[in-house]
Symmetry: C2
Subunit: 258 residues, 2 copies
DNA sequence: CTGGAATTCAAACGGCTGTTTGATATACTG
DNA sequence: CAGTATATCAAACAGCCGTTTGAATTCCAG
């Protein structure tokens, strides 16, 4: 009781408290938000920001569980207690980091060629190319992408917002793109499955990287095969693959010899 | 010093020691191997086996790090010290569990229709169908598959053997299958990329399950869309997609309007 | 300058982890 | 049966984890 009062002794916590998601987060933040809004400018990095920036790569590389607050504080060169002081606990720091990652890059969404008039296959190529780049197929992925892939593979509390705001728009843009390629008269389920086929092809290179490197014959992009080669292949594969959806009798049965 | 001598007081440890990978693992195992070889038969389950069997699902569900030896021992109804007594430590139990999982199911490999004379598209369909089933797209995946997917996504020490013995044979069978479909005159890189495209499409449903469930419109197999529908789609998509590889000029450029 | 709030800090706390220990019970051998 | 190797067990250990504490420091308005 007394500890809470001591800690929330100022007037600012009340504002945050009313905002709903309060608890113990420290409260220079409120001024910070005002500052960020453009009212004023902070020259040297605040402790909160250093934590946020240092935590990103660590969470991305090791995941929530394996990343320790001690390592994060060491990397940020702040005191061990700072995380609990500014964010309440490790979990809330994590969702803040995800938010930060999301804000500092728009992942799949901002695909080049959006709105530009080009033929559909070329638009698809650029979509795929951009996605592969975001996934880090050219160089190593940045930590933001790594973090989002992690959230994608095993969703947590922060994932729902991610899905709504980033994955879904990209997903719908892709479906529209495929409509242009295959004709818009497709059924809804087919549209979805087609989009999955494209995303699956792209994600495979990100997710299976370490293992396919073990197959002597196979080569990861960046090794023998360039990112553009992969993007080109996926585009071609898809453009022709879509034709399969048009044949309602289903090829694999229709082609049967019996 | 004295503890080692006390523990390895018998003569059996020497044999295992010579085998190379000894250390503190307990040594009824040597007899156990003889028993398994058919010399004798053990009626009631040994402690070692109970641990092995209980650890599988727990490692599969939570991963190596989040699975605790206490939970495993509770599930196996054995004493806490048993894991260290029989396996040395948690890590060596884990690789043993992976070996056990690998042995108790042959994952992707044993595809129905192997050797059976059917037209290539139907063979591909059955390959895809079998893979999706192994991945647990119909009901929930069994723990063996879960464990292998985990190893696939972030490889550990046990992964290399897995890749060599299971992933690779399936991979090569798939490439041969695609050769029959597309003609065998393809370049090596194209064969690999085509196979990746198929695997990517299949894996997508396993890996993105939780997230695509968040898209209201989209449906996971088992929900609105059946596993066979998905398998059929992937097959059709692939059969036509392979045609893209035959056009050397690359569709996405050739179809350009400029 | 002064007093009180905001922040930083070293130290510790309680809990959970994998592992070890030494005693005890069981099985087997000569 | 005696004696020894094997197996089981409750208890404890050391180490790391996230978190808390209370004092010291910095900051800033009056």
């Amino acid at each position: 009781m007394s500890r809470v009062i001591r800690r929330f002794s100022g007037l600012v916590p009340v504002a945050v408290g009313l905002a709903g998601l309060l608890r113990s987060c420290r409260l220079k933040d409120c001024f910070k938000q005002v500052i960020d809004a453009g009212v004023a400018k902070v020259n040297d990095e605040t402790t909160r920001d250093r934590i946020l920036r240092a935590a990103g790569p660590i969470f991305a590389e090791r995941g929530f569980r394996d990343a320790t607050v001690r390592d994060i504080c060491d990397a940020a060169e702040v005191n061990l207690a700072s995380i609990n002081y500014y964010f309440g606990d490790k979990a809330r720091l994590y969702v803040e980091v995800v938010r930060f990652a999301r804000a500092s890059q728009d992942l799949i969404y901002a695909v080049p060629g959006e709105g530009v008039e080009q033929d559909p296959p070329e638009q698809l190529f650029q979509f795929v190319q951009a996605l592969l780049r975001r996934l880090g197929l050219d160089h190593r992925a940045n930590w933001q992408t790594q973090l989002m892939v992690r959230e994608f593979l095993e969703p947590g509390e922060a994932t729902r917002a991610l899905a709504e705001q980033y994955f879904r728009p990209a997903f719908e843009r892709l479906m529209n793109l495929l409509d242009e390629l295959a004709g818009a008269d497709r059924e809804k389920d087919d549209r979805i499955l087609d989009a999955f086929s494209v995303l699956g092809q792209c994600l495979f290179y990100k997710l299976s990287g370490p293992v396919i490197g073990m197959f002597e014959g196979a080569a990861v992009p960046g090794d023998r095969i360039s990112l553009d080669q992969v993007a080109r292949h996926i585009t071609d594969f898809t453009v022709f693959g879509l034709a399969g959806g048009k044949v309602r009798g289903h090829v694999s049965r229709a082609a049967g010899q019996d």
